[in-house]
């Protein structure tokens, strides 16, 4: 088959060199985040000598929620700055989940902050809870930078609403994405009132300096990793579509050529965010995994035509310019802790598994790939996989529905029967969420510890 990209021994040697099992920096990062939150609370504690009455309590609750929201907001943006340590070592999927979680929490804090502060001001001015709206209007009119903050808060609420499960599913991806980009504007607009009306920053020049430092650092990281790094990457490697190949009905491979592609440092199992500069595709970028180990002159992605974007890939003309950002993803050989590896692929989830199957170092019999698809027709890249298996002495198994449509039973017993020492394997897994969940449970039941099941999931 012409699409076969023989990475072979050379690619394996390269991967071997890179294997030094490294611990994910997630725990130290989380400790740093909590320490920062504690420092923010300490700032409040330090600047608040006493609270006289309920009015003071309400105002101070507003201040605490506001300070925490301001702190977390910087981190929420930081999580999407595509910092390599987060994307490649913690894992893009995990960071995206953190981002979603902390984003929701921050939005709640913002709403609480606005309500509590305005309620407190209303009480202070001798009004009642019912005058909160009037008080808000007055404050926005009278206090410095509050107009901007109000617009920013409105944007935050809009962004939050557009990300609620049901609404997000109904929105086209691009619309949701562009609404989400407004976050930068919202953060900018709400930043200034923190400095000018925030007691803690008006009173403490040191705190003000730190706050500028926090937001300045996040801005610098965003500019560096979201703008400058991709610019440099694309200017250096000048990628273009070489060919589009239909693997099976509904699954296409796109071959992408460019200069010195091995210098991008991409590993098997990683993905790029791709933007094809063709009419109608220019404005959206999508994450697709490499389906073969990267070669100096060629990359390959394999995509199932499910959405708008992926169906249009079929019509890409050779020579189309490609804008890529990456490599991202932590589902690589460095996650591995054992000699034996089981790769589990569900449907088009085969793409990163195919690259790993080829490049994971291992003796004959160490590597096993289990490939689940609906029918044998849907086993994309099967010929390549068979060739790799033969060359490496690796095991290749598939599970498809029986002719009457019944699903294959991937249970703990079946796994143990097929792979007796399954509990001594590292498992890499990629597939649709339901499939991944059921395989995960079967693996756990078969005695594989959770820390050795490596999985990437972009479900929130």
């Amino acid at each position: 088959m012409t699409t076969t990209l023989a990475g072979g021994r050379a690619a394996r040697r390269q991967t071997m060199r890179r294997i030094r099992p490294r611990r994910s920096p997630a725990v130290p990062l989380l400790i740093a985040v909590w320490a920062g939150a504690a420092a923010v609370l300490w700032l409040w504690w330090h600047n608040t000598p006493a609270i006289a009455d309920d009015n003071g309590r309400i105002l101070n609750a507003g201040r605490i929620t506001g300070l925490l929201a301001g702190y977390l907001m910087a981190l929420v943006v930081l999580q999407m700055a595509r910092v390599p340590a987060l994307e490649r070592r913690v894992g893009s999927d995990r960071v995206a989940r953190w981002h979603a979680m902390s984003g929701r929490y921050t939005l709640c804090l913002i709403v609480a902050h606005v309500f509590l502060t305005m309620w407190g001001y209303a009480l202070q001015a001798g009004r009642t809870l019912g005058d909160v709206v009037q008080q808000t209007v007055d404050s926005v009119n009278q206090l410095p930078d509050m107009g901007k903050a109000a617009v920013g808060t409105g944007l935050f609420v809009l962004i939050g609403v557009s990300s609620v499960g049901g609404i997000r599913r109904r929105l086209p991806y691009d619309a949701w994405y562009h609404v989400h980009l407004l976050t930068y504007a919202a953060v900018f607009l709400t930043f200034w009132h923190q400095i000018t009306t925030g007691n803690d920053f008006a009173v403490e020049p040191v705190a003000k300096t730190f706050w500028y430092g926090l937001y300045g650092a996040v801005t610098a990281l965003v500019l560096w990793y979201r703008i400058l790094t991709p610019l440099r990457l694309n200017i250096r490697h000048r990628m273009r579509v070489e060919a589009v190949i239909e693997e099976t009905p509904g699954i296409v491979s796109v071959l992408i050529g460019g200069r010195k592609l091995h210098r991008m440092g991409a590993e098997a199992g990683q993905f790029f965010r791709w933007r094809f500069l063709a009419p109608g595709m220019r404005f959206s970028s999508h994450p697709y995994s490499l389906s073969a180990a990267p070669r100096p002159d060629m990359l390959r992605i394999t995509v199932k035509a499910i959405g708008d974007h992926s169906s249009r890939l079929r019509e890409l003309a050779p020579g189309t310019r490609v804008w890529a950002e990456g490599p991202y993803g932590a589902l690589t050989a460095q996650r591995r802790s054992r000699g034996k590896v089981l790769l589990v692929a569900g449907g088009v989830g085969i793409t990163p598994m195919r690259a790993l199957f080829e490049t994971l170092p291992g003796a004959a019999g160490d590597i096993t790939l289990l490939y689940r698809a609906n029918t044998t027709q849907d086993l994309a890249l099967w010929d390549e996989l068979a060739a790799i298996a033969e060359e490496r002495g690796a095991r290749l198994m598939y599970a498809v529905n029986s002719p009457d449509g019944e699903r294959p039973d991937i249970s703990a017993e079946n796994l143990q029967r097929k792979i007796p020492d399954v509990d001594h394997h590292d498992v890499f897994m990629c597939g649709p969420p339901g499939f991944a969940q059921s395989v995960y449970e079967a693996l756990r039941e078969a005695g594989v510890p959770a820390r050795r099941i490596h999985h990437e999931s972009f479900e929130m």
Binding site: L41, P49, I51, A61, Q142, A202
Partner: protein, 271 residues
């Protein structure tokens, strides 16, 4: 891949946040312990001395006595009590001083001179009386601690007077305290977006010894800003001696109004 429990997570996050905030709020005392301690130290009724001349005022700032910590010396304890009026030291006396034999003599020699120097200098940077070095050193220590107490109590009480009534201004006016020939001048009212600002200054010996806001924006956020800004503006005015003072960030309008009224007061005092 562990099962996620979104509802449980939401409930946990909410409960943790709310209880954390409530805990923090409830741990804060109802009144400032530092200010309370300073205020508590100020009256000291039991110490066998003549009553302070303007005993009626509430805090230490307008008029009252402040007693420093006792400083131990080789010959016995020294403790200084200061009488303060309108932020200035108007009297100094030693409540305790070394006694007996030669010490009596030295005390009799040194303490009156130290008292005078303290009033004249207004700080603890006074010359030791030769022949009574230990007593002088102890005196200076106790004096410094009394001055520290005054400093600690004045920003708090300045905030109170700045925010509202303006009644305390009357006590410092020219008539009664005499010696310092202090007089108060009230500036014109300056209108700002949030309300009028009016400054009253006490001038003594050609210097501003005290500044306060008779009027300042009140209510809501304005009240907060006033509490934040006015004490600092008062301090700056006294320190600078003119209207060229820095605006307090976050309270620009109040600061501008304050400077205007301060300038008008200075014009009146000069003319």
């Amino acid at each position: 891949m562990r099962k996620s429990h979104p509802i449980r997570r939401v409930v946990l996050a909410t409960a943790a946040t709310v209880s954390g905030v409530v805990l923090l709020l409830s741990l804060k005392p109802a009144s400032d312990p530092a200010a309370a301690a300073a205020a508590g130290a100020a009256p000291q009724p039991g110490a066998a001395a003549r009553p302070s001349p303007q005993g009626g005022q509430r805090g230490g700032a307008a008029a009252g006595t402040v007693t420093g910590d006792a400083a131990q010396t080789q010959y016995g304890a020294v403790q200084v009590r200061l009488t303060v009026a309108n932020g200035k030291i108007t009297g100094a006396e030693a409540v305790q001083a070394p006694k007996g034999g030669v010490s009596d003599q030295k005390t009799a020699l040194a303490v009156p001179r130290l008292n005078q120097e303290a009033v004249a200098a207004g700080n603890a940077d006074i010359d030791a009386v030769s022949g009574a070095t230990y007593t002088s050193t102890g005196y200076k220590k106790s004096l410094q601690s009394a001055l520290d107490k005054i400093k600690a109590s004045s920003p708090g009480s300045g905030g109170e007077t700045g925010a509202g009534s303006g009644s305390s201004g009357g006590s410092g006016s020219s008539g009664d305290s005499g010696a310092a020939r202090a007089r108060t001048v009230t500036g014109r009212t300056a209108q700002t977006q949030y309300g009028p600002v009016q400054v009253r200054i006490t001038v003594s010996g050609g210097r501003i010894t005290r500044a306060e806001a008779v009027q300042a924006p009140e209510g809501g956020v304005s009240g907060q800003k006033t509490t934040l800004a006015v004490p600092r503006l008062n301090q700056e005015a006294v320190a600078a001696g003119n209207a060229d003072i820095d605006a307090v960030s976050g309270a620009t309008y109040t600061s501008t109004g304050y400077k205007k009224s301060l300038q008008s007061a200075l014009d009146q005092a000069g003319g």
